[in-house]
Symmetry: C2
Subunit: 445 residues, 2 copies
């Protein structure tokens, strides 16, 4: 069904002036919102198109998760209460060394299903293994994404070259075959895992192939101090010198940066993915979001992987972003409820380079979600943006549409087999843990 | 049904050594857990008692919310992005002035229903109006609570006396008629709303009638500084001098306190209700929980009202408590996942004076909840405590029991009429808002 009308929905837009409109209809044609109007529905439309009544549901733009590592959903809950360095070195990397194609597929499928269930329509993903499987699964699931074959550049020149080559080839392949829905980018892991000459090569390839760049930056203070010790400059300054900020790029985390460093990012091409829950859980700190907003830097939200979050619910991410900034800065007005909604939707779309997305207006892609607002925790039925940001969760989402295609209907996934995905994730996890414990036992002896 | 067996449940206890036990049975008799054992169920029990199979659900102690103002659930979402003083003075108190008995009942019913739905079995409640309605509704709903007729002591001596008298009479009445399930306490609002001589009178009455005490303390820095300016000492020191800490008392918020002040609380009779989401949302700050734990002070968790939270989901409160402390202190180990679970259960029970509660063991009251752990965001099925604290929400709760009586079955409330409660809350809210806007319009003219 590529032409239809959704009737009797309440809509919430990202425009504070027309925030909430009651009892509306939306005409969807060829994946786009063709028209939005107040009911009653004109007779001509009634005759022409199938009409779907959605009485009472709240429709809003889908959510954009700008920092994920979907295959890592297999590692949810394996390690808590330790800092990033221990977490990566002792718990995550050793398990990742044991992931094969089937396990990457299982983790990715689990993540895609969880994202759709909780209202996410698009995501940024970076992973080191079998990344083309993530591409195929995302295409089949019907979501939007910007993907990258992640690169840790600590190996030999030959290994670096091979990774970069593969990353470029895959990104180009995805741009050609992703139907504009799934695109490619280059994402060197971080300045602390990618030496400067390798970063230079990556930047040069990104600019040559017109691929956006991304990297993890200034996640912990230790990482920034180590970098200064080794190179005599901060990782952000270093990236700036290397030309990383000369074209479109997204920086994830960005917790430990100075005011003066932020000035280097404010030309509009560089966006920040704020990851409050992951940064808090790993004890990394709280990013200076109000300063970024003051400087006009576009800030979106990302969950990071479920191994450090531990879910992919963007409603939780929006709420925590708001609460953390208000609490830490002891100022309840330092980030407004309006700004938080925009970070989860419109700014996410912008930072992933999806033009006209994150908006509910004629000519925009029909990417939106619907929520059942009739639950106890969303009463009284008023001040809905407050309920959305401070009380709702992904479990309130009932329907998800991308390019006009319905991916979830009344909480049932239409493009993915939920039961099969859970079974497969558990089988793969059991196998992974037994291999991991065996390996650890051998190393301990 | 006062005698039965729950069979085939997985249980999670507050004891880290026996955290998780698979495929168990529980024998419930006369409101107590009589026996917990590994399946198979002995034949004698099978013959004697009705057996309810709960294959695969996770059973854990119910959650304790140690800071609520249930009637205020009617005010969910009325004001965001402003500090405590403005929030109270401009938005909350003017609306509260318009609450009548019916509106208090409506707000309370909404809160009770939301609490049961999200796995809370007991709560502490303080409110200024129609508090006996809260008592009656709580008794009917089947929950446990410690209640108080709140007291703001800014009026005349006569008003003070009348409030204190009513508070004592109600507390005694609840202790006599609450069947040990609902009890009374005295809760002067805060040192900034209760002058010292009034506080002295309250303390004296509390000790005379053997009622526990509670108050809001050191929620904002402004409040602490104002108090020092007016009295030459901090509110905590002032309470100490007045004898507030001589017998059992609970302090809520406790954000702005020094190390030396905390030493005054460590004798075991004083407990702290930590309210991380409300403190963050109002920009009040982050309480020094690790220091309290270090000193052996019992810390439990409370949501505060939905007007500053904005829901009553204790899973969200546990998660935010963990994330905030780890993030703000830049130390992922500063509060452990184990400690957070204990704060939401066992420490809550202790601080409300419910002995033997918050435990899953023979002889404890049959107060527990069950969760469906088969959702996508709780996979893979392992490390369940991590999933509970970092990924679950109140919406994963399916069943709630208090004193062996089932209050919710498969997400359906058994003691409350959910639809009627939502209807009534909305009717009352509409009436309240129209009166409030009228009043504001008149004042503006």
């Amino acid at each position: 069904m590529d032409q239809y009308v959704l009737n009797h929905v309440h809509i919430m837009t990202t425009d504070p002036i027309n925030r909430f409109q009651k009892d509306m209809y939306l005409v969807i044609r060829n994946g786009l919102i063709q028209e939005i109007g107040h009911t009653p529905l004109p007779d001509a439309l009634k005759k022409d198109l199938p009409v779907i009544n959605q009485k009472g549901k709240l429709l809003l733009p889908g959510l954009y998760n700008t920092h994920a590592h979907t295959p890592m959903s297999l590692l949810r809950g394996v390690s808590d209460d330790v800092p990033l360095k221990t977490w990566l070195g002792k718990e995550i990397w050793p398990r990742e060394g044991l992931l094969d194609k089937r396990k990457v597929q299982a983790g990715t499928s689990l993540a895609l299903a969880e994202m759709i269930k909780s209202g996410t329509v698009a995501f940024l993903d970076m992973y080191h293994l079998h990344m083309n499987e993530v591409f195929k699964l995302t295409m089949d699931a019907g979501m939007k994404a910007v993907l990258s074959r992640g690169m840790i550049g600590l190996g030999t020149k030959k290994e670096q070259h091979s990774k970069l080559n593969e990353a470029c080839e895959l990104a180009k392949y995805w741009n050609e075959n992703g139907k504009g829905r799934v695109k490619g980018m280059l994402f060197p892991h971080a300045p602390y895992t990618c030496p400067p000459d390798f970063l230079e090569a990556v930047i040069s390839q990104a600019h040559h192939h017109q691929l956006p760049l991304g990297t993890h930056l200034a996640e912990t203070l230790e990482e920034v101090n180590d970098h200064k010790h080794q190179y005599g400059k901060s990782p952000l300054h270093h990236l700036h010198e290397l030309g990383f900020f000369n074209k479109k790029a997204i920086l994830t985390h960005v917790v430990h940066v100075t005011d003066e460093e932020l000035d280097l990012l404010k030309d509009g091409m560089i966006t920040v993915s704020h990851n409050p829950m992951s940064n808090a859980k790993l004890g990394s700190g709280t990013a200076p979001i109000p300063k970024m907003l003051e400087k006009g830097i576009s800030v979106s939200l990302g969950t990071d992987s479920t191994a450090s979050n531990n879910n992919l619910d963007m409603f939780q991410e929006m709420r925590t972003a708001a609460l953390l900034q208000k609490g830490v800065n002891r100022n309840p007005d330092i980030v407004s409820t309006d700004q938080i909604l925009e970070m989860g939707t419109l700014q996410g779309a912008r930072s992933l380079g999806f033009a006209k997305h994150g908006l509910l207006q004629a000519g925009s892609p029909a990417d939106f979600i619907m929520l059942d607002m009739s639950s106890l925790h969303l009463q009284p039925e008023d001040n809905l943006i407050s309920h959305l940001i401070y009380s709702a969760s992904g479990q309130d989402v009932t329907d998800v549409y991308v390019d006009g295609k319905q991916l979830m209907k009344d909480k049932e996934l239409l493009t993915l087999d939920e039961e099969k995905i859970m079974y497969e994730a558990n089988e793969c996890f059991k196998d992974l843990e037994s291999r991991f414990l065996n390996k650890r036992r051998k190393e301990d002896n």
